[in-house]
């Protein structure tokens, strides 16, 4: 049987420039994207970032997975817009009146609330996509190895959690399949569900015991600090480090220089100048340029 990893998003080494980059640089690049997403508010700039992240997904070879994550993100994004429209009272351009809503006051729906909700939804979508991309392309073990130098046990626990997620997902899938093959069909009712949940939890505890035994015999109880690894920076390390620096610089400059200024309330203020368009183009270029160099990406 194909492992559960095929159904959930887990790191898998494939030939791509981002996979070929050391984990610390890959993580820094993802952090730079996250920072830009948090700092910038202009919808056009955020949309440019969204295109760039999706492009990066395809450049990394995980485009279809990122597209699936985008669909999931929309499930979160749409309610954000709806809730913001319903609760926000700050806009001036009313497009629908719901009348007196008692303790919630007048139910006036405004264009400003729709736009601000959409900006927040876009930011959340971007954050989900960036996290997914980092989860798929940045080696968690290599990253946690760095932290093992600081706190061995915490980093090892995080490593174990990362490793056990697909294992436990596969366990849950197996238990579910086993229940479907019972002669009378899967047990139904609240009591059966509780029993099944108890079995899943019991199984996880058994797994934990076995893993603990393995850790014991491998000598992790007496483990010392992980040694420092020194290896030369590859072209991809340099490219993504430069990209992270460029993204951060563009976000800061864009914010301070007002090229990405945006305010929704009380009326929408969204100046779109040539600077804004240059910022969009520069961000897309900064994100995607490291993916153009595909030399030495396989290992």
């Amino acid at each position: 049987m194909r492992p559960m990893g095929g159904m959930l998003f887990f790191y898998r080494r494939i030939a791509s420039p981002l996979h070929a980059t050391r984990a610390t640089v890959g993580a820094a690049w993802a952090l730079a994207l996250t920072g830009a997403t948090l700092v910038l508010y202009h919808p056009l700039v955020l949309f440019a970032l969204l295109l760039a992240v999706l492009g990066a997904g395809f450049g990394t070879g995980v485009g279809p997975l990122l597209a699936r994550a985008l669909r999931t993100a929309l499930i979160v994004a749409i309610p954000i817009v709806v809730v913001n429209v319903l609760v926000s009272r700050d806009g001036l351009t009313v497009f629908a009146r719901l009348g007196d809503l008692g303790p919630f006051g007048q139910g006036d729906l405004t264009v400003e609330a729709v736009l601000y909700g959409a900006v927040i939804a876009l930011k959340v979508t971007l954050l989900i996509l960036i996290t997914t991309l980092a989860g798929l392309a940045v080696d968690p073990d290599e990253l946690l190895r760095v932290f093992r130098r600081l706190s061995f046990r915490s980093a090892l626990t995080a490593s174990l959690a990362t490793r056990m997620l697909p294992v436990l997902a596969a366990d849950a899938q197996r238990l579910g399949e086993a229940q479907r093959t019972r002669s009378g069909g899967p047990p139904s009712g609240a009591r059966a569900r509780v029993a099944l949940l108890a079995a899943v939890v019991g199984g996880s505890l058994d797994r934990a015991m076995d893993v603990a035994a393995t850790l014991e015999v491998r000598g992790f109880a007496t483990a010392t600090r992980a040694p420092r690894l020194t290896r030369p920076f590859s072209r991809h390390d340099i490219a993504f480090a430069a990209s992270a620096a460029a993204i951060t610089a563009l976000a800061v400059v864009g914010r301070l220089a007002g090229a990405a200024s945006f305010s929704a309330y009380p009326r929408v203020h969204m100046p779109t100048s040539a600077d804004t368009l240059v910022l969009c183009a520069a961000l897309i270029a900064a994100v995607l340029l490291p993916f153009c160099d595909r030399r030495g990406i396989d290992r």
Binding site: P3, Y11, S159, R182, S183, A192, E216, V217, R218, A221
Partner: protein, 540 residues
């Protein structure tokens, strides 16, 4: 004689809350460079002995411990598993719980880093152990993407990375196909011969590894029952524990031949010296081996027509599989790990829908999955299946017990009762087909024989039975027809006597000894053939 690497001195041990000792007054010594097999039925204390050797007993499991175990001169009562781990590598049954990181390279590195090796030593150690075990191509793969055999190799790599002086292995081949199992045993033998690593290996399928061993220790209910070389062990097993005899030894005993062979090579040499083996075996007939069965399409219990299972963004697991099962037919489904056996059974049972092709079922297909424990969600056996189903499975008296306290064979019977229901079920509820996915993992020979008998009984009663298995001996005991899958395709579909007699890996030990002669698969059939040959010799 040098100092022993491992010594047990009057060791007794009981698990917490249990009165019966899991080990009872066990004493032995293991010298550096020995390859020792641990034999015994399920529950005889093999795993406990290995746990005691690496310090998990008593440090990890608790319980009552008496006697002295020393590993590399260290008393295990004073030194915990972490300290002892510097001298002993351990590999347990389930590779899934022995991999603690997400990538193979990190797994091998972690084992060395945690012992305080420097960066250069870690890099070198990872490279060397990967090359030695042939897993260098896996170094950058994610551990959750590996097959069972690959995971077991990586876990062995992590155990060996620190160059331990002794390796303790608890049924490491139980989840592996015959090819991967043989490779693992070959690897252990190489470690033992080239680097003088001491091996202590607990195993049920002794025929796989007896030829590689210098010594066999047999346990019976926690007591040391036999300690000698393979020949002495086989003599003892013939007298005292027939369930531990290898198929080759059993065939020799039935045919009245001596000495009992430890492996195929020795058996063939003995037969040749007795004039019972032709000087040159003829090549197998390719036409016969590749022949496909033609089946009539009426009255089928299960029919698969061009079934494909293609993963989105992934490979095809099944590629146009067509097969038919008639009522009362018993079929063994064989092939390497990842060949598509489990997927095929899931399609048969309707758990998966083909992406192309179709599946026809004459009735319900009961599927017993690999791990019986996955079926148990209640506290009492009586809650898991109906009283009639329990009575039919011979478990009526255990209705009040916790399913997890049952023995391996009882758990298997209970799981079978859960998926098949009661014999008294209506025609519509009674399964037309019983499908079993690797039902013999970790089972001893006695329990396997019971299960094979149950499957034969069901087939005789008109139920079609299909069993995915890696165990040729079990396949020969329960199936009349065998199907070999490779890369999602059926590459052979013929009588079991043809498939299991004609290969190196997917063949019983009896067939390998006799070179497939007469289609003899089981020791009884082989013994008959040898007796007939002996008679022929005398007549000539």
């Amino acid at each position: 004689m040098s100092a022993p690497i491992l010594s047990f001195e009057r060791v007794s041990y009981s698990y917490p809350g249990l009165d019966a000792p899991a080990l009872n007054d066990v004493s032995f010594e293991l010298q550096p460079g020995e390859f020792c097999l641990l034999a015994g039925l399920s529950g005889s204390g093999k795993s406990t002995l290995l746990n005691a050797a690496c310090g998990l007993v008593p440090h990890f499991h608790g319980g009552r411990f008496a006697g002295v175990v020393t590993l590399a001169g260290l008393d295990t009562r004073e030194h915990g598993p972490a300290r002892l781990g510097g001298f002993a590598g351990a590999l347990f049954q389930d590779p899934e719980t022995q991999l603690v990181t997400s990538s193979v390279r990190a797994e091998l590195s972690l084992a060395l880093e945690s012992r305080g090796h420097g960066a250069a030593a870690v890099a070198r150690g990872v490279e060397e152990v990967a090359l030695a075990l042939g897993i260098d191509a896996l170094l950058d793969r994610a551990t959750h993407d590996l097959s069972g055999g690959e995971k077991q190799r990586v876990a062995l790599g992590a155990a060996l990375a620190g160059r331990p002086r002794i390796v303790l292995l608890d049924e490491p081949t139980s989840q592996l196909d015959p090819v991967a199992g043989d490779e693992l045993i070959g690897l252990l033998r190489r470690l033992n011969q080239e680097w003088e690593t001491t091996i202590l290996l607990a195993e049920h399928r002794l025929e796989r590894c007896l030829a590689a061993a210098d010594r066999v220790i047999a346990l019976e209910r926690g007591r040391l029952a036999c300690d000698g070389d393979p020949e002495a062990f086989l003599e003892w097993a013939a007298r005292r524990a027939p369930a531990l005899q290898t198929p080759g030894a059993k065939m020799f005993a039935l045919a009245g031949l001596h000495p009992a062979p430890a492996g195929v090579r020795q058996a063939r040499a003995t037969l040749r010296s007795n004039g019972l083996l032709p000087e040159q075996d003829g090549p197998p007939s390719p036409a016969s081996a590749a022949k496909r069965r033609r089946r009539r399409r009426s009255g089928l219990a299960l029919g698969m027509r061009g079934v494909w299972h293609e993963l989105r963004d992934g490979p095809a697991i099944l590629r146009g599989v067509s097969l038919s099962l008639e009522p009362g037919e018993s079929v063994a489904l064989m092939g390497r790990n990842g060949a598509g056996k489990s997927t095929l059974l899931r399609h048969a049972a309707g758990l998966l829908e083909p992406t192309r092709g179709r599946v026809e079922r004459a009735g319900r297909v009961a599927l017993l999955l690999q791990n019986p424990g996955d079926y148990f969600i209640h506290e009492r056996v009586g809650q898991e299946a109906s009283a009639q189903a329990l009575a039919a499975a011979g478990l009526a008296e255990m209705a009040e017990r916790n399913p997890r306290d049952l023995s391996g064979g009882e758990r298997q019977r209970l799981a079978l009762a859960i998926v098949t229901g009661a014999e008294e079920d209506s025609e519509a509820g009674r399964p037309a087909v019983l499908a079993l996915d690797e039902p013999t993992r970790g089972m001893d020979r006695e329990t396997k024989a019971e299960l094979a008998e149950e499957l034969r009984r069901r087939a005789a009663a008109g139920q079609a039975v299909i069993v995915a298995t890696h165990d040729p001996e079990f396949a020969a005991a329960c199936a009349r027809r065998a199907i070999l899958l490779a890369d999602g395709r059926v590459i052979a579909d013929c009588p079991a006597s043809e498939l299991l007699a004609g290969g190196w890996y997917f063949a019983t030990e009896t067939a390998r000894i006799l070179g497939g002669a007469g289609g003899a698969l089981l020791p009884e059939q082989g013994a008959e053939l040898l007796q007939a040959r002996a008679l022929e010799e005398v007549t000539v």
